[in-house]
Amino acid sequence: MTTKKWLQMGQYAAILLTTMLLGGCARHSPWWIFDPKGVGARASYDYMMIDIAVMLSIVGLTAIMIVWFMIRYRKGGGGGKYDGKWSHSMTIEFFTWGIPIAAVAFLSWAVAINGSFALNPYNPTVITHTMKPKGDPVDVDVIATDWQWLFIYPQFHHIAVANELVVPAHTPVFFKLTSTAVTTDFFVPQLVGMIDVMPGMRTKDALEVDHRGSYQGIAADYCGAGTSWMLFKTKVVSMRDFHRWVKTAEAQPETMNYHQFNEFARPYINVHYKTPIYGHVEPGLFNHVILEVMNGKKWPLPMFMTENMYAYLQKQAKEHRA
């Protein structure tokens, strides 16, 4: 290969690298963690940057120091003075302990302690402290099944939607979360960090978004064969659009009581992205599910779903077409 070709390849590499770095600024960035759109996710991002700055300054300098030692004190040619006896210095020891202690002390206070309170999922002060007095928070009850999400809006006629979350922008949204069968994580990378959803237990989380748009939600913890498909789109709309959506949802004929929920919660892989809307679910369904699970209710995995997935998926496709 000629030098010219190498140069050309170097150029391509440089362009590729720049594009990837600039990707962080693009509007529809694939770098979800670097492109936060929610209040909580942005706070996490800021804390991350503080932490990276502090740590990189230490680790980077250490790496440079090591490389310099490696070059200067190499055998035959480095030019560094050899002293085969030297193995201790109180001054250096002071810094080798002092620098990590100072860094850990600073990060503990600035990021670990402050961040834990600012982003406490049960009461994230970044959201709750800035709430306007007339702010009208939206409550959402989240039930994770094997392998679907059900989002219930108790303030709005107990409407519910599966596998799709619709929330208004500029409004705090408070979640209560539980699961029917196994544990997973509720996670919308650009909006809010992960929180465990566990069967027979209730966790909480909160969300506030400044930018309208559609964001990918993920079941972030392995919960069985359908984990990868257990996705939900989070649609952030204006308050007016949200109320309009609520109206259409309330008009849906589909309803759900505990008995129907039992059917819904059976193991199901949502390959076809079904997002059914329920005009009304049984009030208190969320607590009802927790109580049933605490009393031993299970939705066991049938044996056939542990083996040939294609047979199962073909069966589901047939049902879907019907």
Binding site: K75, S87, W97, P100, S116, G200
Partner: protein, 712 residues
């Protein structure tokens, strides 16, 4: 009382049936045929060469700590290869499956890629379990097994039979996980096991049972080993080997085994409770009936995090031996280094909760565990600085071993940087359970792998008497490092792109390019595996040229370099008297490196025994029978194990004595075979006198064993 299992069960075969053998699987069936053919060829070759007697006498029944160490390392390398193949399959699946649409290979029952979700789950679970407990742990235990007794001037471990027992029980665990490839399936819910997926309702197959008994066996083997190490270092040190003179690797082995001894029982209890849930129908970790699934997660990580330090501390110890040797300088800040080791070990018990910050435990608890986790950064930082200042004012020669050690150092820097990010809840919420975490802990575990490869190259001449080929060692290093960069830099990037762990179908097409880069990295890794085989082949072929004397590197420092290479079965013809922290460096400096004993004493050695192997076999049967719920076989295997234990305890081992004349002859012969080391050679007996002693003046080993080490 016993839990009703879904599917057929018969009293004779339990859940075992022909349909449990995946002979229709397009990956496993050819692999099975291949393994059977290779196995038959191996058996045929051994039979033809008439090696069965040799293998039985010298290896299978041995209680020699060096041979057991070699077998541990062999087991670790084989399982490292198996784990690597699992990793290759994971990467290939994600590369093939990424993106929207139905791109699966239908013949294999997959809707995306070539693996079903359930099969994919088994592969990463096996990958994690094997890499941590059957690759890293045996490699480190093996190296500790070989080096620790040599570094403290002991004849063997304190309990040689227990040592063999620990190895064979670990091997039984390895056999159990290997057989799960071809009989039934393995657990699909992660190497650490998610509660409550491992309950019968959500994992109806035998996979989780395999997982339980594999882990139980390995945990038992490692616990037994840790007792042995601690007893050895406390009671078997040569005269003059005070705690202040203990080599750093031995210090790290002490701290690691304190961790193992105190934390592994926690794992065994947690898994026994999981077993109770699955076999007896209890409700320890179920969601309902008062069970508490987070209790399992707590118990597991209460062991799991100390386990992380159990594997990293010996690796740190290896760096502490390799870097000074090739910098031709003593380790900088020995006392600080030992303190840092124990600080890490101490903190390891109070950080486990950072594995699940997302549980929602509230800011006070989060903060405590976050700060505790960050505290680990202080002693680790001290260690990095101390290694750096060991090189400062040194005379560094870049041997293959030094390449690996420095590579480990840089991986540790990256792992530390990302670890400090993960230790903070506010950041952790965004990257927990993402592949960023996966990339982080691979940095740390690869730091161990680098240290282990460095240590294998570094200590190889001590064990086998010849050096490994330097050029191929370096080629392997650069290939391996290129693979590491190409696999894990994209993985960090994917973490920032929001990819979560364990996706059999990565749904975002934006990730596709990076998956391709990772697959390319895996290809480079394959080349490095090939170069490792070449390294072994070339080195063994050219072994006559690379023969070394006792001090293989000419700049070695600690006591193991005093005895012959390869080490005779009795380790030291006479127990050396320790005069300094870096004993060999001290003797070289004062010109008594080549002093041989002027008189010899009789040595008391333990007899070989096949009982450890038998107990390993019966425990394997027990694990297999329990997995398949074959109750009669479980009962027989358990009875056989207990009977063997009682029989062996009642019989005991009187050992045998090698006479002083025999030792003198063996020592003379070993010396004649060994080339003279380069550098200054000094005539026998040319030492200054005074307080200095080269060899212990004690009458015999039996007397010494009653007295213990000379000073504390």
């Amino acid at each position: 009382m016993l839990v009703h299992v879904p599917g057929p069960w018969s009293p004779l075969l339990g859940r075992l049936a022909l349909s449990e053998i995946p002979y229709k699987n397009l990956i496993l069936a050819p692999l099975f045929v291949l393994i059977v053919l290779v196995g038959l060829a191996l058996v045929g070759w051994i039979t033809k060469r008439g090696l069965w007697g040799y293998l039985w006498r010298e290896w299978f029944t041995t209680v020699d700590h060096k041979k057991l160490g070699i077998m541990y390392i062999f087991l670790g390398l084989v399982m490292l290869f198996r784990g690597f193949i699992d990793g290759l399959m994971i990467r290939t699946q994600q590369m093939l499956a990424v993106g929207p649409g139905d791109n699966g290979i239908k013949a294999m029952g997959a809707i995306h890629g070539y693996l079903t979700p359930f099969h994919f789950g088994q592969i990463y679970s096996a990958h994690g379990l094997i890499m941590i407990l059957l690759a890293a742990t045996p490699l480190l235990v093996g190296l500790m097994n070989i080096i620790v007794p040599l570094q403290i001037g002991a004849r063997d471990m304190a309990f040689p039979y227990l040592n063999a027992l620990g190895f064979w029980i670990t091997a039984a665990g390895a056999a159990l996980i290997m057989i799960s490839l071809f009989v039934g399936d393995f657990s699909h819910n992660g190497w650490f096991g998610y509660a409550p997926i491992f309950e019968m309702s959500y994992s109806p197959g035998v996979g989780v049972d395999y997982w339980i008994w594999t882990l139980e066996l390995i945990a038992l083997g490692t616990t037994l080993g840790s007792i042995n190490f601690l007893a050895t270092v406390v009671k078997m040190r040569a005269p003059g080997m005070t705690w202040g003179r203990l080599p750093v690797f031995t210090w790290s082995a002490v701290s690691a085994n304190i961790i193992a001894l105190t934390s592994f029982p926690c794992l065994q209890v947690a898994l026994a409770l999981v077993g109770a849930d699955r076999y007896l129908g209890t409700h320890f970790f179920t969601a309902g009936f008062g069970g508490n699934l987070m209790l399992y997660t707590n118990l597991f990580w209460l062991w799991g995090h100390p386990e992380v330090y159990f594997v990293i501390l010996p690796a740190f110890g290896m760096l502490g031996e390799i870097i000074p040797t090739f910098s031709e300088k003593p380790l900088f800040g020995y006392v600080a280094m030992v303190l840092a080791t124990f600080a890490i070990a101490g903190v390891s018990w109070i950080v486990w909760l950072h594995h699940f910050f997302t549980m929602g435990m509230g800011p006070y608890v989060s903060t405590e565990f976050s700060v505790a986790t960050m505290l680990v950064g202080i002693p680790t930082g001290v260690k990095v600085f101390n290694w750096a200042f060991t090189m400062y004012r040194g005379r560094i020669s870049y041997t293959a071993a030094m390449h690996w050690a420095l590579g480990a150092l840089f991986l540790l820097l990256i792992g530390g940087l990302t670890g400090m990010m993960l230790s903070i809840p506010a950041i952790n919420y965004m990257v927990h359970n993402s592949v960023f975490v996966v990339a982080h802990f691979h940095m740390m575990l690869l730091c161990i792998v680098y240290a282990v490869f460095g240590a294998v190259i570094y200590w190889w001449p001590k064990v086998f008497g010849f050096r490994l080929n330097e050029a191929w060692g370096k080629i392997m290093f650069w290939l391996f490092s290129a693979g590491t960069a190409l696999v894990f830099i994209p993985m960090f990037m994917l973490g920032f792109m929001g990819e979560t762990r364990r996706l059999d179908w990565p749904f975002d097409p934006h990730w596709a390019g990076l998956f391709d880069v990772q697959e390319f990295g895996i290809a480079i890794y394959v080349l490095s595996v090939v170069s490792f085989v070449v390294l072994l082949f070339v080195s063994i072929r050219d072994r006559a040229k690379e023969r070394v004397g006792a001090d293989a590197w000419g700049t070695s420092r600690s006591l193991e370099w005093l005895t012959d290479s390869p080490v005779p079965f009795y380790n030291f013809a006479m127990v050396p008297e320790i005069n300094a922290r870096d004993e060999v460096a001290w003797r070289r400096e004062h010109g008594f490196l080549d002093i041989r004993p002027d008189h010899y004493k009789a040595i008391h050695m333990p007899n070989n025994t096949p009982v450890a192997l038998y107990i390993g076999a019966t425990l394997f049967l027990l694990g297999f029978a329990l997995t398949w719920r074959i109750w009669w076989l479980s009962g027989i295997a358990l009875l056989a194990t207990v009977a063997l234990m009682i029989w062996r305890s009642a019989k005991g081992d009187p050992g045998y004595v090698i006479s002083a004349e025999e030792i003198a002859r063996l020592d003379r012969e070993a010396r004649q075979k060994m080339p003279v080391d380069g550098g200054d050679t000094v005539p026998v007996g040319g030492f200054a006198g005074g307080q200095i002693m080269a060899y212990s003046r004690e009458v015999s080993d039996q007397d010494r064993s009653h007295r213990g080490p000379k000073s504390w």
